[in-house]
């Protein structure tokens, strides 16, 4: 059977259709013949492919790499088999998609909600920040960076590594926080929680490249980490506000308290996960725990999407995970 959508491919099928090239490696067989290892994708579905030398259509390695490059949209023909329990496709024919022939956005993975609705909802949380200086700083940093922020990935791998993943992750934390604030009343300071959660991973727009295909750490990201980057953004805003009006000692304190929540949102220093200071407030502890919940739910549900019901698999960072049967 021949399928035309990569999402439908299974071992034994032939495939004839469009896909996005995610990764390309030129290899050699033991006999010295060149061939390509190519990963193609549609949305979250990734398929490993081989293009053997006899499929090069007489082109040299250099020429073949002008077709196959990360980010290219291509039309591919191939046969799918199984290798080590994974689908593997041998490519038999290929060409580049022509301009306008297909829509790029149908091939990349994106957040499950629209950018516009997410942005509106995050802004509604910012509106709830009742401490003026926290509201101003959060609002301005969000406005300054929202175009990049709303589309950025939240990780190079692991969880939320897709277009809009950063905004979707941020919004998920705000929603959990809202319910906890409602439940625990004045014990938790809602304004500090919303400011801290909106900004907590904002530094990732500098820490990672804005590439939805294969995001990487930037050099500055490796020098400072996203926590110090966002604290820098906050400090620059504080300095700017001071050029416009006088800032009280109480206001300064609460801005530094915000920086502490962000500094410690990876948990206590002793876990070695990259906090830049110990958490010393209730909101700092809470921010870390909420972040953890959303991350774990996403890692596990992502793992589930590649598993059979009733199966147990070892998942990196989680240990063994079981996917229950539907009841």
């Amino acid at each position: 059977m021949t399928v035309t959508c990569l999402l439908d491919i299974t071992p034994g099928n032939s495939f004839e259709g469009f896909c996005l090239v995610k990764e390309v490696k030129l290899e050699k067989t033991k006999k010295g013949d060149p061939y390509l290892n190519v990963t193609v994708a549609k949305k979250h579905k990734m398929v490993a492919c081989k293009l053997w030398n006899n499929g090069f259509r007489g082109m040299s390695s250099e020429e073949i790499l002008t077709f196959f490059s990360a980010g290219a949209l291509m039309h591919i023909t191939g046969d799918a088999s199984e290798y080590n329990g994974q689908v593997q496709m041998t490519i038999t024919n290929f060409r580049l998609a022509e301009n306008g022939e297909v829509d790029f956005s149908e091939f990349i993975e994106t957040a499950p909600e629209s950018v516009d609705s997410m942005e509106a909802e995050i802004r509604s949380y910012i509106d709830e920040i009742k401490i003026p200086i926290l509201h101003q700083i959060t609002f301005e940093i969000f406005e300054d960076n929202k175009k990049l922020f709303m589309n950025h990935v939240a990780a190079v791998k692991m969880h939320h590594n897709f277009k809009g993943g950063l905004a979707y992750h941020t919004l998920s934390l705000l929603r959990i926080a809202k319910n906890i604030c409602d439940q625990y009343g004045e014990v938790v300071n809602r304004s500090k929680m919303y400011a801290a959660l909106t900004l907590h991973d904002m530094g990732k727009i500098v820490e990672m490249t804005r590439d939805y295909t294969a995001p990487e750490y930037t050099l500055i990201g490796q020098f400072l980490g996203h926590i110090q980057i966002v604290n820098q953004m906050i400090d620059r805003k504080l300095v700017a506000i001071r050029t416009e009006r006088s800032v009280s000692a109480e206001e300064t304190t609460v801005v530094y308290e915000l920086m502490n929540i962000i500094s410690s949102h990876h948990g206590p220093l002793s876990n070695g996960w990259g906090s830049t200071q110990e958490p010393i407030t209730l909101e700092a502890h809470l921010c870390h725990m909420i972040d953890n919940i959303d991350a774990k739910i996403n890692m596990i549900s992502k793992a589930h999407s590649d598993m059979q019901e009733g199966e147990v698999q070892k998942i990196w960072g989680l240990g063994k995970i079981y996917k229950p049967n539907s009841l």
Copy 2:
């Protein structure tokens, strides 16, 4: 100034009123004279007291201990000073409260919601368990033990160590879980969450004595721990159900899955916090993280109640904690 309610006492005051005796120790001065160290309380407020030998009113140590014993309600006169930053009272006069003179319930700390409303709300969560065997097991264990469960403490010290603390902690987790289930949809199994959370600390009614003044670990509690105790309750229910009707393999699996969630609700084995098995489902990971949130919020807000605004203190199990100024 003389105060009559222990909640109002501060260094410099005299006190004349009722209190609950929490702890009594007979000591000797270096010169060999006997005296008493007594802790008295009203609700969450605890005050350390001294009764010097010259206040024994001519009684022997044995006689004096017939007045002062843990759990007694007494009328006390004394002078409050400060010692190491804490209030300390020297007792100058004392008598036992007469029957009916004061209401015991006004002196012990209790959950902030009524037993009846908490019980009704927990039962409403049990009603939402849609997997019949999980519903039956949870319902029956709750009904069998509710009288004890609704009034029990949740810990010997740390958090929720008060009358009704176990039920209040359980209910808090169910409320957090409800919102997370609402937010993440089918990704999280609501029935498993509600069953696991209702039962997760049920073993504490066997693990700790039912004493609101000074709960202690029982011997069986130290042999098995509350996790294995509740798994035993679940297993006994499963055995009992099997004597009444046949139980399918799918049902058995989901009961064991419930036991896994409970077995691992203290997190991965490597943290050494007493899980009896690794978490292998999303609900198992989530149950641990929600438990952690409620525990931390309570530990910190309990610490805050003894702190000044703007102060930083070292809190056992948490490191340094800051209490912010009201804004």
Copy 3:
């Protein structure tokens, strides 16, 4: 030279004889030709084999897999060479063994003592349990499960992963314990030691499949672990006994003490090796240490069987191990 017994095979030999198939994987060469990776065995000796496509005798991959399957007894012809310091055999001919042609039991690895003598000796230890309720529980659980228990493996890999390994490991611990009880006198309680050691790994008959070729963890095994499974068995016995006669508080205590020994036989919680409670008795600490001795001796002597005298090798879970020269 041609050898007919797999135990005698070395690189350079030809082989013509019977063997047990342990594992089969269908692979493809880079050119796309199918071939088989097969592991064949006799007793503890395992040999990795290749069956290339040109040896398929015209059969398809599907047909070839009807011959080669885990657990099959086959007659094989092949040539042994060396690959990465290990024997590797290229299969040149093959057929299934006919019924009765060879004895299955000559090909699987088994405990070095007979099932009957091991069972008799374990029963003699049970006879020495002088605390009636411990004797009854141990005796009944042993009798209920002995058929499975006497033949089961003790691990999926590591040590004692052979037929009868569980019984042999259990018996070895009882023998060590006997001598220690003799040596230390009343300091160690013999009845508790014998009951705990007889039962300590009984849960493995549920935790692992009863497959001597390639045992695996069951789902229930992964939900609960063998410690909680055996504690469940003990609890069910306790419940059953109570339906027949009254059980004193002292008897109940000693049964829970037994469960504590078993709960903690992997050592303190902080090591993360899967104890379900801290050890709090001398017998609990001792049970863990004796278990460790037998496990380590078996892991090292198993490692020695594949090593040359004077050689040092890295062994998983042990670090470097030296095999001394015979003197």
Copy 4:
């Protein structure tokens, strides 16, 4: 014998002379009589004292505390005995020192070199920074803060907790670094080392109070830590420079590289000592190791100053330490 300089005091002596009050605590005997625990000092020498009630000269506790307060210079008469192996003095008479009667600077501990010579030498290292933007940033931050920096303590306890300790510690690191740069040649970048070491602990002027008697952590110090504080200073300089001239990408990179060295100067995150990012350059690793050398040498030589030759003592943070005999 009566001594007049606190440095000479030993058990059995009387004392009559001046001293600095470091710490005062009002206590009560078991009988309820007030008395004072006072710590007095001259330079690094600290002596614990008691002022019993019968030495209050008829004054109330409140009056007595107007004499004894941290930071006061007093004239004291007393008798020294030994308690738990330490000198302890009972105060028999006291008065405040009159203005000009003694020189405050003779009583506080200070760095062993003069502020002027240390400042000149640090500035000579800054002159050696050959990367212009690093030179400018280091020079300006040093000039802005030198008055505070040159006199500040380097720690609240542990090592270098004296006036000028921060500058002296910084200078010691620069001297070690100079020799290592000379020895290893171009392998180590001298400009980056000098810039990083000059600034590495500059944040302590904000993190700790400028009190030479009993320095404490500030609230901002606890929110951010000295590493993030100095990175903030650097970033503010970078922003300011950009308002004056254009800064190249290479320059920006080297400034962020500087921030990485400082971020990681407590070593890898996994040690939990408070680095805010992993070290990723040779200079970052080196900066941490040099810091460690000076800290350890100072902790041990400080411990030695209270030990006899040939003695072994347990020292906090170091384990057992031996003080060798002079040879």
Copy 5:
């Protein structure tokens, strides 16, 4: 009631009899009066005592210390009360025991078997060492040091800290090893085990002072540790043997293998318990595990001797320990 043997003392008794002084501290009351804290003992029984100033019989502190000193045998009169759950005696009269009045050996704790029988039994194990060079080295080191070895303590505190404790501990390990060698046959090398166990703690005769009252670490003990000290003894023997005859390469190897067993008898380096090299043989692993068994049994049974049946106590190095009821 008046008791005359310290072993019989309980709170409420008077005492009149002999005892051994273990520890003496001169203290002062808050009012400045001197008094003595004295620990007296008979065998394993230790009692804390006070000698108040009014019991000094007019003597000065200096004079009183000529009576009370560690190691002195005294005749004491006093009254026993209870303090913090422990017996405490107020001394009312005292004198030094006269020469020959009592037998010193009745007051110190000693091994439960006679020195002669232990020595004979250890020598019988040495006789079983069949590898000549191991036999010679073990025999000679034992003969050289046996007088000291047979009476030495095995620890400054923890387990076997009594006269003959080192020999008794060594013998206990040899007995366990014998049974394990009998059980596992040729898998374990008996000669290496007996040589290693006889010598494993021999270095303690240099590492700790030969004081049965209050043993301490020597300076050399702290420089090298008992493992390196015994390896030095072995090496010196090897050097000496080489001056008398030629030693083969195989013999040298087995001597170094012996040093490896001893070097690693505290377990793998990663536990930080002081092994000087990783264990790389079966005998090395086994030696560590057997050592652990005897140590733990002794620590727990020592803890039991101060506990009531049914009690649970926290024991240093072991966590909570339960002492079961006799059945």
Copy 6:
């Protein structure tokens, strides 16, 4: 282009020249054809090569291995390509170098300073040891072993794994120590530092084989480790000196103090890096830290030699390392 020096080889070049064979492995293709994996080197430059069966020139595998063996000097012709980002060469022709045709010393990696100058400088440090017994022991051990010591490697991999690496590493530490001694004055004992550093890794001449191509751990090295080996050397010297003259207690103490510095030069036991005793002197702590500095500088600069400017790579034992741009 054809290059004749291995240091110049890059992908795309042909090579025709001499090289040193470091490692040879006979492999088989999936089809069963034999081929060679060969590593050839010049100085620090290593190149992975393939010799396919069709390049065997009709020789059998056995014959081909008489040409290719570790340590052989050969003349090779081949074509360089790139494989996984590394140069890989296919060998097309080969012959053994003839005697005298090339100079072996041009092909092995050696320390960057001459053996003679390093030896003279180390001896000048030994001359500075002012404690006579430390001078004598250090001098004699150095003289006894200098031929081997001056040429030995310092590690089997990691840092300083080249001819003369051990001497060069030792000298580097002495140079760092000299400057620190100059800087800190009498706080650090120069004689102890020089003695300890000269000897600290001397045991490596026994622990590792004297092979500059592929050094390995010896059996004795694995039994004892280089720390215990050098302590043995020191002890043998001490014994020898005692046969010649009497040694005072002070001298003995300082020799054992030297052994403590060496015993602990891998840092505290808790890090598990192989110290044989805790460091208890300032010199012991310092020796460890200086050793660490030289090791880290060498590991990082070695990593840099294979990296591009601006690149970040993960380096074993160090985490991510960045190589900065030249400025």
